[in-house]
């Protein structure tokens, strides 16, 4: 600092002092100064500015508007080269001992040496000047090219100011945001704009809380004050612009900030300048960049002892880097591309459930259960096939124990028609069907034999019509019998129990069509309808497949309704579906309040002759339900 010694000007007239604060009279200045006191709160702007200055580790420093020399006092023990501009003579004299030189003049008239100061501090000064931008520009000439400007300004968007203006008040106060000597009022954004219009670039911004102990003249160490300050900090955390009392920022010459500079090289420069780097600082450097915008410094200012190295330099450097990085369009494009990729799959997701929800639900009501009970009689367990005969009786194939049970139409009485022990050859009755004469046909899944019982429940005959593993059977109005052929097809027999060679094909045996996993059969007129594991198939009178549709649910037992539709059980999901003859899903049965599920592993299904009652062989009981197809 020997080559750029500033000119000592001594005192200047009080007339000139008005320039720095516009056209204010000395009396106003005096009264204003009287209210400026040293703040001990570590969050105050004075303390924070001092901390920033120490953290920047640069000198010489220029303190513009030194007043009582607060900054000089705070960092006096560091023996830094610090000059000041203070137009008001009494305070310039008071402060003189804390500064190397005092320019007692307006800033525009101060004979500052060019390109000298590494740090220029403007603590609550610019708002008092007529042309803050011009002030900054003139100071830039005194600053080194890489100098840092530390600026504080009152925040006009503070809650208290907003409320007062909302109430139509714009008071002239002795101090604070509405200080009568203020010529300009700034928000966070306009403050930055003002600074940047002078050719500086804002690197870092923060706010300070309201100095409540000073305003209220209270003990800052009291619990109440500490709690109030903590609350303020929290509120500032939520909204700095609303609760920040003073705006604090650092700035550098914009031209200095080169897009080619990298964070690493910047930091390495700082590191070289620093006298020491301890572990804390090294760690901070290794961490992701701290807040690039509204951030806050650590609250405690170490001014009397050797402080921990501060990170403001790194903050500023990182911020600078972020500020000068080109904003690549690819990043928002990447986001929107990803967003699109996320949104597109939502269409089928919504479509799927909307389509499913559009399927008509047919409310039904349970009328009762058909039970087997009595001394030494085992209840139903493992019910499978079920049929309703012309006289209204219901026949059920029960697999555990193996038997054929007959119920009265209302389920009030039952009769065990046949059982594995009493009926020769009956091992595991599975499917049940009936013809127009009231004869009941029982398909044994183990042997493939069909047992035919007369209307009086006596066994008429046992016929080996199919093979083991067959589990579906139905009889049309003409008495033709359709039985699944093992697990691979359907075979048709005429009413005299002869294979119908004219129907279907000859593979693997005559009168057969090949369909995998036949689970249910039903007829309407001459057409046969088949449900397999996941398909609905319509077969015409010649045994040709004329329609095939994928099922929404799983296939199961089938029966036809008087209106010419088909009901199918869906065992895995406890549902019963209704289809039209082409396999279009028309709806599903739900409870009377549209609740689901109302069935429990439905296996067999039958409708009463008049179609008003539905009998469903649930796992271990027969449920009797009201059936109104037009209820949907």
């Amino acid at each position: 600092m020997t080559s750029a010694q500033p000119n000592r000007t001594g005192s200047t007239s009080s007339r000139s002092s008005s320039k720095i604060f516009g056209r204010l009279s000395n009396s106003i200045l005096e009264s204003a100064y009287d209210r400026y006191v040293l703040h001990t709160d570590p969050d105050s702007s004075q303390q924070q500015i001092a901390k920033i200055v120490l953290g920047l580790k640069g000198q010489p420093i220029l303190d513009v508007g030194a007043a009582y020399g607060f900054l000089g006092r705070l960092i006096a023990d560091r023996h830094l080269e610090i000059d000041a501009i203070e137009p008001y003579a009494p305070y310039a004299e008071t402060s003189r001992r804390f500064y190397r030189h005092i320019y007692q003049t307006a800033v525009e008239e101060a004979p500052l040496p060019s390109e000298t100061y590494k740090i220029i501090v403007l603590g609550d000064v610019l708002e008092h000047t007529v042309n803050p931008v011009a002030v900054l520009q003139s100071l830039r000439r005194a600053a080194t090219p890489d100098a840092t400007f530390v600026i504080s300004l009152p925040n006009i968007s503070h809650l208290s100011a907003r409320l007062l203006i909302l109430l139509g008040k714009f008071p002239q106060m002795d101090r604070g945001i509405f200080d009568r000597t203020h010529l300009h009022f700034y928000t966070r954004v306009t403050a930055a704009q003002m600074v940047e219009s002078s050719g500086l670039m804002v690197l870092w911004q923060s706010v300070t809380p309201v100095p409540l102990p000073v305003i209220l003249n209270a003990d800052g160490g009291s619990i109440l004050m500490r709690a109030a300050m903590l609350l303020q900090k929290i509120l500032i955390g939520i909204s700095p612009t609303l609760f920040g009392y003073q705006l604090l920022m650092t700035a550098k010459a914009a031209a200095l900030v080169s897009a080619n500079e990298t964070l690493t090289s910047d930091l390495s420069v700082e590191d070289k300048n620093a006298s020491q780097i301890n572990a804390t600082q090294a760690e901070v450097l290794s961490q992701p960049a701290p807040a690039a915008s509204f951030n806050q410094l650590a609250p405690q200012l170490p001014i009397t002892t050797d402080p921990k190295p501060l990170t403001i330099t790194e903050n500023a450097t990182r911020t600078k880097k972020l500020a000068v990085q080109p904003k690549r369009k690819i990043v928002p494009l990447l986001f929107f591309a990803l967003l699109l990729a996320v949104i597109v799959p939502l269409y089928p997701v919504w479509n799927q459930i909307l389509n499913y929800s559009r399927i008509t639900t047919i409310p039904t009501q349970k009328l009762g259960d058909l039970r087997v009970s009595g001394p030494n009689v085992r209840s139903l367990s493992g019910t499978m096939g079920i049929t309703s005969v012309s006289n209204g009786s219901i026949y059920v194939a029960d697999t555990n124990p193996q038997r054929l049970v007959k119920f009265t139409p209302n389920g009030s009485d039952y009769k065990i028609v046949a059982s594995a022990g009493s009926t020769p050859g009956l091992v595991l009755p599975y499917a049940v069907a009936s013809d127009q004469s009231g004869n009941v046909y029982v398909l044994d899944i183990t042997s493939g034999d069909v047992f035919i019982f007369g209307a009086n429940d006596s066994l008429i005959k046992k016929v080996p019509l199919t093979v083991s593993g067959s589990r579906a059977m139905t009889i049309d109005k003409s008495g033709n019998i359709y039985i699944s052929y093992g697990g691979s097809g359907v075979r048709k027999f005429t009413s005299d129990l002869q294979p119908d060679g004219a129907w279907g094909g000859n593979t693997p045996v005559s009168g057969t069509i090949l369909i995998a996993e036949v689970l249910g059969l039903a007829t309407i007129g001459n057409d046969l309808f088949v449900s397999s594991a996941n398909k609905f198939i319509r077969v015409d009178g010649a045994g040709k497949i004329v329609a095939e549709k994928k099922l929404i649910g799983s296939g199961g037992s089938m029966t036809s309704t008087p209106s010419g539709h088909l009901l199918t059980t869906d065992l895995p999901t406890n549902r019963i579906w209704i289809f039209d003859r082409d396999g279009n899903t028309m709806g599903r049965l739900v409870g009377k309040n549209f609740e689901e599920p109302i069935f429990f592993q439905p296996r067999g299904i039958a409708l009463s002759q008049d179609g008003s009652k539905l009998y469903v062989a649930n796992e271990n009981l027969i449920g009797m339900y009201e059936f109104k197809e037009d209820a949907r």
Binding site: V331, Y356, G553
Partner: protein, 473 residues
């Protein structure tokens, strides 16, 4: 770019960057290694079994237009991913591939994405390229990842990869001028992780707390992260609430790994503990350990203000690590959760964890699911007694590693907090706003959890009522 050739890759510095050619070449090598190490076993194995078989059922159900939650197909996930198996089934039919191969492709693809992500992250300044290559190779040839993606065929790999991308994007937000966009991308990636397998919602607070700096950022982050889940779940909550909630809340994992597995393996070794008692013990223990785990995660969430933003990567790992040593229902595929991010942050724990997890997973498959390792026709003679013993000791080691690892992360953060090393970049301005956001999200999570809980209780009560009704009870 001086001396880039002569200096080689090791120890390269800012002034000594390798050329772009070297960098690209290494990336290509890594991608090729990732792909080859996974595609070959996926193609060679014919094992549509366990999870891949379930995925097939899901695909068939979805393609039929059915409500997957109304079906008794195992699908305790968000609706968003239901079309993934369906799409792979269509692809398999179109390309004439086996389904068990096609269904593994998304996981393999995501493994490649993770490889690229890790390498780009570790070699971002073209520094220490050899180190970046080595760490990325640990992922590219990671046996745990290969076992889960290519042998098991489980879709879980996708989740930690999305989390990794979320973490990398959050890191990028700290370095780039377009912080907001990167944070949005991070949130979107985390959202995809959440919508894929729900559990990453437990790491959302960590991202919100340590990755964002303002209330607006934290709210936006959470909103974007929850968007896919909410957007896909909404129609199901409207049109099929009961079945949807019953299905997604009805799965609690299996005690295949973790401390409970040690007890589960005992019957295999000693032959003295009746299976029924073990099963009962499983159910009870899983219930209690689930509660304990959830309490731990909630406690962790409230401790997040103590942690440093720079520790985001490590803090993310705490949730799965807690899961490993607290919860009893750890499945094989869950062990992949920590690996991608652990490698991305160059944690040496990832090495030991990978080693022990690999041995234990192989022992598990060998004992309980040989077709995963050997295909449809596993060797007839499999000594399950020995593999069960390996599994038992492997699980003890896994629990110990998870415990020590999580405690070391925790301890580092607490020590840093005590020493106030974080004070300058973690002051109140940084944590008050995310705290509020976090409380909001935690409240949402708790509400959802309570909703699921009561919904489950009502479902169980209803089912019991149905079952008991015939008996007049």
């Amino acid at each position: 770019m001086k001396n880039s050739i002569s200096s080689g890759l090791a120890g390269t510095s800012v002034e000594d960057k390798p050329s772009n050619g070297q960098w690209v070449l290494l990336l290509v090598i890594l991608l090729f290694a990732t792909l080859a190490a996974r595609i070959i076993p996926a193609w060679e194995l014919h094992n549509e079994i366990f999870d891949t078989s379930t995925y097939h059922s899901m695909a068939l159900t979805v393609l039929r237009g059915d409500n997957i939650y109304a079906q008794r197909v195992f699908f305790p996930y968000m609706p968003y991913t239901q079309f993934e198996p369906a799409a792979m089934l269509l692809l398999a039919e179109k390309m004439n591939w086996r389904f068990d191969f096609a269904i593994k492709l998304p996981s393999i693809l995501m493994d490649c994405v993770a490889t690229a992500g890790i390498f780009l992250h570790l070699a971002k300044k073209r520094k220490n390229l050899l180190s970046a290559f080595g760490w990325t190779l640990l992922w590219a040839l990671n046996p745990v990842s290969i076992l889960i993606s290519s042998f098991h065929g489980n879709y879980m790999t996708v989740v930690p990869v999305f989390m990794l991308l979320a973490y990398l994007a959050a890191g990028k937000a700290n370095e780039d001028a377009q912080r907001g966009w990167w944070l949005a991308i991070s949130a979107l990636m985390l959202g995809l992780a959440i919508v894929t397998r729900t559990w990453p919602i437990m790491v959302l607070p960590a991202f919100v707390f340590l990755g964002t700096r303002s209330l607006r950022e934290s709210l936006m982050y959470g909103l974007i992260a929850l968007f896919p889940t909410i957007a896909s779940a909404l129609p199901y909550l409207i049109f099929s609430r009961e079945t949807f909630l019953a299905e997604i809340s009805g799965y609690g994992g299996f005690p295949d790994f973790g401390w409970l597995s040690v007890f589960r393996t005992l019957p295999y070794i000693s032959g003295k503990v009746p299976g029924i008692i073990t099963s009962l013990f499983d159910d009870i223990s899983m219930g209690y350990s689930r509660t304990l785990f959830l309490v731990s995660v909630i406690a962790l969430t409230f401790l997040l203000p103590l942690f440093r933003p720079s520790s985001l990567g490590r803090v993310i790992l705490l949730v799965p690590l807690f899961f490993y040593w607290i919860y009893g229902g750890v499945s094989a595929q869950y062990l992949i959760w920590v690996i991608p991010i652990a490698i991305a942050i160059k944690s040496r724990w990832s090495l030991i964890f990978t080693l022990v997890a690999t041995i234990t997973i192989i022992a598990f498959y060998h004992t309980y699911a040989p077709p995963i390792l050997y295909g449809r026709f596993p060797p007839i003679k499999i000594d399950q007694n020995v593999s069960a013993q390996i599994m038992m000791f492997g699980n003890i080691a896994l629990v110990a590693i998870s415990f020590i690892w999580s405690m070391s992360i925790f301890a580092q953060e607490v020590i840093a907090f005590i020493q106030k090393k974080w004070s300058t970049d973690n002051s109140y301005l940084n944590w008050v706003k995310p705290l509020i956001g976090n409380v909001v999200y935690l409240s949402i999570v708790i509400l959802i959890w309570l909703g699921l809980f009561f919904s489950s209780v009502s479902q169980i009560a209803k089912r019991l009522s149905d079952v008991m009704k015939p008996y007049g009870i």
